[in-house]
């Protein structure tokens, strides 16, 4: 078990900035409004039979002013660099050189966005008989764009954010699908809580409109096909619908935030994560239960926001865990935003903080009755992130008292 919780004497950590660019829109108001209206943006034609949640188009120029910078990135990096800029704006620190020169960045990233034409060009030529020993080498040497590599490297999301927004503190990139997002938040929180760091930019981004990713997940039969359904209604038609999104948070010690007059959306009280063995039915649910017990929950109005994917058996395991906490209203972000992999956990924290700051949990969007209405303002939201294959994370987001 690894855990990060603000212990007595440790610094309280506030969420003072949120940046969202998703399939529902950009910015907090657009996303909030879409959630209230139960809007869902899915494309079941462009990648048919697979269903994806495409990014709502944004004007990248507003956060990435240099075209040259945009050209050096692939979509996943542009989305993330854009959302990171929104988070810095939201925290009121965009362009603040004093703060940006020391901000600690922890990014959860995948990578590897490929040039499908190059891949198919090689494979079809080989199918037609190209078999010289150096054929692949020669094609790659002539067909790959030199800068594509930089658009594929996982740590170049952080690199691009640093370049475009002028961040000069530290930069760490965590990989490992869904739980990487939880670990990024966990490490950033523990560093601020212990006084190692004052302020951090944490988040991730994902381009779900990628056939190379669909191939990877199709290997494991994880993609949702043919027909969209809410996450909880996919039991007999399992799978996740990849989503495009960038979600970034500015985390800050209370003292640092107060000194510069920054207002919190909420506080991040705890992030815990583990790696269940998932060998036997019940393993993953048991790990979630252990993580739950680690959260320093108090009296108050609570809710759960989960990144449940819709893939099996993980979603059924999670459903059985949730049954023992059925008194808490639950929301599955996968229904509204699709599955955004490394980004789902930061997205969950962002929506928890937003719900707390706006005094209401967003409405249910589910046909199975798993999600119930919530009356009144939530003061605590537990964010759950269990990977489609491995890794479990949980966070407690609370109202600042």
């Amino acid at each position: 078990m690894t855990e990060t919780a603000s212990k007595p004497g440790q610094t309280e950590v506030w969420i003072t900035g949120i940046g969202l660019a998703t399939s529902l829109g950009e910015g907090l108001d657009a996303n909030w409004t879409a959630l209230q209206e139960k809007r869902i943006n899915v494309d079941d034609k462009g990648f048919a039979p697979y269903v994806v949640h495409p990014l709502m188009p944004v004007s990248f120029d507003s956060q990435i002013p240099k075209k040259g910078d945009q050209r050096q990135m692939e979509a996943w990096q542009r989305i993330g660099t854009y959302a990171a800029g929104l988070a810095l704006d939201s925290a009121g620190i965009k362009g603040n050189k004093d703060i940006l020169s020391k901000i600690d960045m922890v990014v959860a990233a995948g990578g590897g966005e490929r040039d499908l034409n190059v891949d198919c060009g090689v494979l079809t030529a080989e199918a037609k008989g190209a078999n010289a020993p150096g054929f692949l080498n020669e094609r790659l040497m002539s067909d790959l764009r030199p800068t594509l590599f930089l658009a594929q490297l996982s740590n170049l999301l952080a690199g691009n954010i640093a370049i475009v927004h002028g961040l000069g503190g530290t930069s760490r990139t965590f990989m490992g699908e869904e739980v990487a997002g939880a670990d990024a938040a966990r490490i950033a929180l523990s560093r601020i809580a212990s006084g190692e760091s004052d302020i951090a930019l944490v988040g991730g981004s994902h381009n779900g409109e990628r056939k190379d990713l669909l191939v990877l997940y199709e290997f494991g039969d994880f993609n949702l096909q043919d027909k969209f359904a809410p996450v909880w209604a996919r039991k007999d038609h399992a799978g996740f619908a990849l989503g495009s999104a960038g979600a970034f948070l500015v985390l800050e010690s209370r003292a640092h935030a107060e000194a510069r007059g920054a207002k919190p959306f909420a506080k991040l009280s705890s992030v815990v994560a583990d790696l269940a063995k998932r060998k036997q039915p019940g393993d993953m649910a048991a790990t979630l239960e252990t993580l739950w017990a680690k959260l320093p929950r108090r009296e108050g109005k609570a809710a759960i926001i989960t990144g449940a994917t819709g893939a099996e058996p993980a979603t059924s395991e999670e459903r059985s865990f949730l049954k023992s906490h059925a008194d808490l209203p639950v929301r599955a972000t996968g229904t509204m935003f699709g599955h955004t992999m490394e980004t789902q956990f930061p997205l969950g924290i962002a929506l928890a903080a937003l719900s707390i700051s706006r005094g209401a949990l967003f409405p249910p969007n589910d046909s199975t009755g798993t999600e119930i209405e919530m009356q009144g303002a939530p003061t605590q939201i537990v964010v759950v992130g269990a990977g489609h294959w491995r890794g479990e994370g949980m966070a407690l987001v609370e109202a600042v008292s």
Binding site: A127, E138, F149, M175, V179, F222, K277
Partner: protein, 425 residues
């Protein structure tokens, strides 16, 4: 008797186990013997055809079995072997029950060409699109490829095999990754979250596309013949780095915990530092300020001054830009001492092990402290007259070494440094 806490009141972090693998061979003894003898592990690539490539040599690890082979599979197998070596030396925990978290530096994972080609052949048509590949990917035939090519797959395997605790972290800070994995371990122990951490770094990515990618960025040496002479750090005729494979594992413990269980202390991680460069994706800020700041932060973290460092294990990639920048920035931090402190680059012999380099070189630094002998920088026949380091050229040098600074700088503005000492300060 040394205090269990450093001058900042934090737990002192010591090393109690190390494991290593490079193109020179397996294990500390073999690697060290070859390293101080000035042997090169760089050879002409035999793993795949080299026709049409500008660079045809690398520091490959071809002497262990990986089945089925993939770059990620090789990374995993190397990581497993070096971890076994480190745990055996540390004698910590029980079998498959390591009492702390895992921090793994690993190259980004993706589906590789052999698997992509298998898919292409399975389509069974002469002309096809990506949709055709997608259509045949499901149904369970390729489910092993999903598991293999998850970014978290290597860490999950190690965590299960060695019973590390909690959520294992897979990280990438490009060529600084190995140093970052150690830094994460140090921080966790200093925060008091754990008494022990397993820090592993591995990179087995000498494959055609990785080679081509670096080649297209003009980062690699093309002095293919003889391959052993390709990596020429600090030389006037250096022309790029040499890709290489390898892995390193370190068992870190709080000094207090190590002493309490009677463990042999191999060295101390006295300081770590990092600083981001936001100048360019692949180039350092011309004023060197981020690297200077990184070294200064590391000294401050260790509570040390430049005159206390008596050896620098350089990043020393042998790219024209890196080595010059490293001298200039080291000079800015160390003043005239930059020309007096013995400097070496292990990459002259083992090549650039990319994601693993920071850990591999930290281990070589600790072995330098243990043996009081600095491994040479080979191929140093034509010194760059503008790089005035006291390079330990061609032959190993006996020296009194009490504190080593090890530097790692990477694409994406990643800079990280470590200070390693024999005894707690």
């Amino acid at each position: 008797m040394t205090a269990p806490r450093d001058k900042f009141g934090r737990p002192v972090v010591v090393v109690t186990g190390m494991g290593i693998m490079t193109s020179l061979g397996t294990g500390k003894a073999d690697n060290w013997a070859k390293l101080v003898a000035g042997e090169s592990g760089i050879r002409t690539i035999t793993r795949f055809p080299i026709d049409g490539l500008k660079t045809t040599m690398a520091g490959t690890v071809d002497f262990i079995d990986v089945d089925p082979f993939s770059s990620t599979g090789l990374s995993e197998r190397m990581a497993e072997l070096v971890t076994q070596e480190a745990l055996e030396q540390a004698g910590i925990g029980a079998k498959a029950d390591f009492p702390g978290p895992l921090f793994l530096a690993v190259a980004p994972v993706e589906v590789e060409w052999p698997q992509r080609r298998e898919l292409g052949r399975a389509v069974g048509k002469l002309d096809f699109t990506y949709d055709d590949l997608l259509r045949i990917s499901g149904g369970g035939k390729y489910s092993a490829y999903h598991h293999r090519f998850m970014f978290g797959s290597v860490a999950a395997h190690l965590a299960e095999t060695f019973g590390t605790k909690g959520s294992p972290i897979s990280l990438s800070t490009a060529c600084a990754s190995g140093a970052t994995s150690i830094q994460l371990g140090v921080e966790a122990i200093r925060r008091g979250e754990t008494d022990a951490a397993l820090c592993v770094a591995t990179d087995g990515t000498v494959n055609p596309e990785a080679l081509v990618r670096f080649s297209l960025l003009s980062a690699l040496s093309t002095q293919n013949d003889p391959p052993q002479a390709a990596s020429r750090p600090f030389s006037k005729n250096r022309d790029g780095f040499v890709m290489a494979e390898g892995a390193g594992a370190l068992v870190l413990e709080s000094y207090e915990a190590a002493v309490a269980r009677g463990a042999k202390i191999l060295g101390v991680i006295a300081g770590c530092g990092e600083l981001t460069d936001s100048f360019h994706r692949t180039r350092s800020s011309p004023d060197g300020k981020p690297i200077i700041g990184c070294m200064n932060k590391t000294l401050a973290d260790a509570g040390m001054t430049p005159d206390q460092i008596d050896h620098i294990n350089a990043h020393g990639t042998a790219t024209p830009e890196n080595d010059k920048m490293e001298f200039n920035t080291t000079s800015a931090v160390f003043g005239e001492l930059a020309q007096k402190i013995p400097v070496t680059s292990n990459k002259s012999m083992v090549g650039h092990t990319i994601s693993a380099a920071g850990a591999v070189e930290a281990i070589f630094s600790l072995l330098t402290l243990e043996h009081q002998r600095i491994p040479p920088t080979i191929n140093y026949d034509n010194p760059d007259p503008t790089i005035l380091f006291d390079v330990v050229g061609n032959k190993a040098r006996d020296a009194r070494v009490t504190a080593v600074m090890s530097n790692s700088f990477g694409f994406g503005g990643q800079n990280a440094s470590l200070i390693l000492t024999r005894e707690p300060a």
